[in-house]
Amino acid sequence: MTQISINVDGVNYSDDVEPRTLLVHYLREQVGKTGTVIGCDTSNCGSCTVHLDGQSVKSCSVFAVQADGHEVTTIEGLAVDGQLHPMQQAFHENHALQCGYCTPGMIMQSIDLLNENPSPSEEEVRDGLEGNLCRCTGYQNIVKAVLSQAEGARTPSEAQGAQS
């Protein structure tokens, strides 16, 4: 066992973990952050995406011990005082989720995407979400939600002059 100290969603935690413990297992099983979920075992699906010091990571690809001394933000830490993060609101407004299983990871990745590129094209949004799989929505409304939060927001339908 190794002792680690991690700040998760604004709270400091000190815990003993096995060195092999993945960050996602630590978050779910020891901290109780079950909003972050596991969708695969090959780092393909992105369901477990969180922010590590403000940047998105797939928490299945990080050992808990690697997060020692760092800050983690999960989907559960996004809303402040009950006020949804604008990206959470955008997913709701644009019907960018159905079953909702990929949604926490998708929202965390979407925020990171706009942090990196505040005014992406539709293609850049699609490329930026490539590591996050969704089986329900066909991605169209997710892309729409992300573009609605871009600087000088415009929707893909407006961009294409098409009905969406």
């Binding site: 096995e18 909003g35 969708g39 559960e76 019907h95 066909g138 294409q160």
Partner: protein
């Protein structure tokens, strides 16, 4: 309808944002794997790496000694308790099926089958111990090729003496719904024969399956990531010999299903049996790799079609000879999946003669079962592909050939050659709208320009005008098809003292948004605010009766049950309202949530009435103090959504890459309750259908090992792989239910696959190519082009685009009499042919 302050005039039709979203976007979710119970143990499964073998020994000693391990359970340990997993759909009286133990006892029949179960204090300890179980197998011959298996040879289940589980026939002449197909083929001026392959697919819901069982107390509770809590409860009771009233099944938040969670699984039975045996709560959550390996697969059929037509392109008959790969076992509805397609091969067309013969075949692969569309995507693909071949043969636009054959708007209701009664539809309206949005004529002109200029990137336009049968199902029809259950749905509407409304539904949503849509329906029916309606579901103790969600049935059947229950509430309220208003019942009218007395200002709101009934101080004589009502609704017919899907694909003839440039669809799903939800269902459906056309395929190697065993190899598309869709609707309300709804869950998946493949073939037809097997990977497309341009073959002779050990598509065009009607079984080695009595060259129209 009167507008009140609280609610818009009509909730139905509003793009309400979903009630479900709040918990899902904030991570306050109840996925089964999130549950932890005191003293809970964790299960991990030992799975066979061997596709077919006899278990000669299982050594569990080392695993038992591993840290944290509480027990190691083999099939023999629970042989008396685990029963045999159920199949609810014996399609014929003489259908053959092997016993299906949850943990294999003597033999394993596919790679991935469970041979032992580890129970440990943590999930990690359980997984560690899996590696320590030593199982010895004697290999048996592995049966993988369904076409070869159908003919005999090695047996998947030697005890059955054959690989054929059942043969099911529909014949329009025998059924009295049409004429004899052999006569039609004999007389046909054009005969087209084609073989299409529906590759094996994996549902790939995002939430892996998970089960928690709590055996403490008098009643055992199971939480499961399932689409079917009610069916599961009944089937577990029957399989394990437990009284139904001792079982409670809860489907909490469930992350997608697509038919993949329409199953009674070995993992559910094992978790139940082990938990009850040990007296401790147990959890099992599969890994994605396990899910891909051993959760049921979908499709996997070989379709041999013979179509006859007049020279003007009027279809006169269709014969379908189908092989369906069951895999190693029959799951809950496995044998019925191809049968659901039997009624859809005629699609929107009105030809007079039809015959469908399906052989269900056992192989040593994971068992197949429902996957989004279940039978109908296969049928739609085949008919829409062959209609394009007919268009090429006749020398007209693919749209033209459809128009010549489809049912005209004025011909509804229409009795089909497959015995269905289509209530409404307007294929012309949907097609006109789609063509306009798509810019059909302009794209055809561009296609022509590119062909003439010899552009290395060719443009193809794919058409798919589809219909499907939804709303499973009238119970009498299911009975006629030998399905073990009915197709009704149940709902309860409760008026709470505060005036709020509680709706219990027997449907079990896993992403569809029932909480929102059912609220809209009830808000309109009872005249209460949308936010005052709460929808409860997915718990057999709360919504005790139901038949769950699949087959685009939830709204069409479950929504109608909600309507019926709400109407009963109004009926129950009427005499009480009359009593309180001191009026005659016949003078009352109910509008916008209020009972009013005609010709007066006197009225009472339904919320007010609910409190009066709760207090029960002043009830009419002999009337019970309750407004609560329940209803069970059995549909009188299926519903028949339809639509026109158009796809423009650019095919790079130098690399074989096919890229979707535009995708436009106009769907007619009848009355729309929530356009936002409908559109979302279409988008998601499109991607699953497109994924079949372009990307996804579950592949086994020669030893029966699944080689597409993770998301690295099984190509679920990402946002970057998909285009922007243009979607729109026409609306022909169903006349067989009061809401006028038709169902939308499967439409996109059913329609899109042939639209994409038709577009790819259309881009290459001038090169002499008339088929590419799915998935249309760059390699397959490139190979097809190469085989044409090599000069070794000409379009009018033969083509072979097969790879990956899959059946070849030999295509020949001959002149002379039709070679149809020999009644032979579908055979992938057999040459496809197009025969005409004219001098038309059928291969290169």
């Amino acid at each position: 309808m009167t507008v009140t302050e609280d609610r818009p005039a009509a909730e139905i039709g509003q793009a309400r944002r979903r009630k479900e979203d709040q918990r899902l976007i904030t991570g306050r979710t109840k996925w089964t794997d999130n549950l932890t119970l005191p003293g809970m143990l964790h299960l991990a499964m030992v799975r066979s790496p061997v596709a077919h073998g006899t278990i000669t020994s299982i050594d569990v000693e080392e695993a038992k000694a591993s840290p944290g391990v509480i027990a190691v359970i083999t099939g023999r340990d629970i042989a008396d308790e685990q029963g045999s997993l159920p199949c609810a759909w014996p399609i014929t009286e003489d259908q053959l099926a092997p016993p299906h133990p949850s943990i294999a006892v003597d033999t394993v029949n596919f790679a991935g089958e469970i041979v032992a179960c580890i129970v440990a204090r943590t999930a990690a300890q359980a997984k560690d111990a899996v590696e320590l179980v030593d199982v010895e197998y004697d290999d048996l011959p592995v049966v993988l090729d369904m076409a070869a298996a159908a003919e005999g040879g090695d047996l998947t289940h030697p005890d059955l003496g054959t690989n054929v589980s059942a043969t099911w026939v529909f014949d329009s002449a025998e059924a009295g719904t049409g004429t004899n197909v052999e006569d039609a083929i004999q007389a046909g001026e054009i005969i087209i024969e084609r073989t299409y392959r529906q590759q094996r697919l994996i549902p790939a819901f995002m939430e892996p399956r998970s089960i928690v069982v709590d055996p403490t107390g008098e009643q055992t509770t199971m939480w499961s990531a399932t689409q079917i809590p009610h069916i599961l409860k009944l089937m577990l009771a029957l399989t394990c010999g437990i009284s139904e009233s001792k079982l409670r099944v809860i489907a909490p938040d469930v992350g997608g299903g697509f038919g993949g969670k329409l199953q009674v699984t070995p993992e559910e039975v094992i978790t139940l049996v082990v938990s009850r045996r040990l007296g401790r709560p147990c959890k099992y959550t599969e890994t994605r790799s396990e899910s891909i390996l051993a959760a049921h697969h979908g499709r996997d059929q070989i379709q041999h079609l013979t179509l006859s037509a007049n020279r003007d392109g009027t279809v006169t008959g269709l014969k379908v000879e189908l092989l369906a790969d069951m895999g190693a076992y029959l799951g809950l509805v496995t044998p019925g999946v191809p049968i659901l397609g039997a009624f859809m091969y005629n699609s929107i067309y009105k030809f007079p003669a039809y015959r469908f013969v399906c052989k269900n075949i056992f192989t040593n692969k994971a068992w197949t079962d429902a996957y989004r569309g279940a039978g109908r995507p296969e049928a739609t693909f085949a008919i829409e592909r062959i209609m394009d071949e007919l268009a090429a043969e006749v020398g007209v636009d693919p749209m033209e050939i459809r128009e010549r054959n489809w049912i005209k708007p004025e011909e509804f209701p229409f009795s089909t050659v497959a015995g269905m009664e289509y209530d409404t539809g307007n294929y012309e309206a949907a097609t006109d709208k789609a063509k306009q949005l798509f810019g059909y004529d302009e794209l055809r002109a561009e296609q022509q320009r590119r062909r003439e200029s010899g552009d290395p990137v060719q443009l193809g336009i794919g058409v798919s005008t589809f219909t499907e049968m939804c709303g499973l199902a009238p119970s009498r029809v299911l009975g006629a098809l030998s399905y073990a259950a009915g197709g009704w749905e149940h709902a309860t509407v409760r008026m709470l003292p505060s005036g709020k409304v509680e709706v219990l539904t027997g449907t079990s949503p896993h992403g569809q948004g029932h909480e929102t849509a059912w609220s809209q329906i009830v808000a309109d029916r009872l005249g209460v605010p949308f936010d005052d309606v709460e929808v409860l579901h997915g718990d057999t103790q709360i919504a005790a009766r139901g038949l769950d969600s699949y087959g685009s049935r939830s709204l069409v059947v479950g929504g109608m049950a909600v309507v019926a229950a709400a109407d009963k509430v109004i009926e129950k309220a009427k005499p009480i309202a009359a009593h309180l208003l001191e009026a005659d019942v016949d003078d009352l009218e109910f509008e916008a949530g209020k009972f009013g007395v005609r010709g007066t200002d006197a009225s009472i709101g339904i919320g007010e009435l609910a409190f009066a009934v709760f207090s029960a101080h002043n009830m009419p004589e002999g009337v019970e103090p309750s407004l609560d009502a329940e209803a069970t609704y059995d549909p009188v017919n299926f519903s028949f959504p339809h639509g026109t899907h158009l796809c423009a694909v650019e095919v790079d003839t130098e690399t074989g890459e096919a890229k979707i440039r535009d995708y436009t669809c106009v769907d007619d799903v009848g009355k729309v309750i929530n356009p936002l939800i409908v559109e979302g269902q279409v988008h998601g459906g499109l991607v699953q259908g497109i994924a079949q056309a372009l990307f996804e395929e579950a592949l086994y190697d020669d030893s029966g090992t699944l080689v597409t065993g993770s998301f690295v190899d099984y190509l679920v598309p990402s946002a970057a792989d998909m285009p922007h869709f243009t979607t729109d609707r026409t609306e022909s309300p169903s006349t067989t239910n009061a809401l006028g709804v038709k169902g939308v869950g499967e439409a996109g998946t059913i329609a899109s696959t042939p639209a994409v493949v038709n577009a790819i073939v259309d881009a290459l037809r001038h090169l002499g190519i008339n088929d590419i097997e799915m998935p249309c990977t760059p390699h397959r497309v490139w190979s097809a082009i190469q085989s044409r341009s090599s000069g070794e073959e000409t379009p009018a002779q033969s083509q072979n685009v097969a790879d990956s050990g899959l059946p070849s598509h030999n295509v020949t065009v001959s002149e002379g009499p039709a070679d149809g009607g020999d009644g032979a079984d579908p055979n992938v080695g057999r040459a496809d042919s197009t025969s005409t009595g004219s001098e038309t060259n059928g291969g290169a129209a």
